[in-house]
Symmetry: C2
Subunit: 101 residues, 2 copies
């Protein structure tokens, strides 16, 4: 299981619209092969900044399966116009240390 991580900088004043569009986009990603779970959180220090975390079974489920799918075109249409700059997406391997509940 790998974790996709993106820091999303949303254009000023568009946070509410972005959150609504993201709810709609959530229905798209949740149906993809290899998708496990995702969450979107808002930064407390920078209100225009969000954190997207997506758990995938395999790296390729995101980089190939999702990104080369027709569904990704809809995802892009819904979300990409909110971002400035366009975000860098990185992937993280399973936890090397995990503790707690």
């Amino acid at each position: 299981m790998i974790l996709e991580v993106a820091i999303l900088e949303v254009r000023a004043g568009q946070g509410g619209d972005f959150e609504n569009s993201f709810r709609e986009a959530s229905l798209i990603i949740a149906k993809m092969t290899g998708y496990i779970s995702h969450e979107l959180r808002r930064c407390m220090e920078k209100p225009n900044q969000y954190l997207l975390l997506v758990n995938w079974e395999r790296l390729e489920d995101h980089t190939i399966g999702f990104r080369q799918s027709p569904e990704y075109q809809k995802w892009r249409e819904l979300l990409h116009h909110y971002y400035d700059p366009f975000p860098t997406v990185e992937h993280y391997s399973p936890a090397v240390v995990r503790s707690g509940n």
Copy 2:
């Protein structure tokens, strides 16, 4: 519940030592008031980069309770010398969207 997020850039060649020190440091943070859970993951695109996620009950459990504690001095001694540059730590409010398992 808030999420502390830090992207950690570890000096080249010190990843293994860092992971071992982090395991020791994990015992410190796990005892703090307001601590819920944490995980450390390694970046697949940039092997010297790690992601630290810590769930806290309240923002102040991290920013005041932990950072002003004697235990934080030990945490610093164990970990801070691995970082270059010194990381920015941000906090994220509860998920605005969460889906999946």
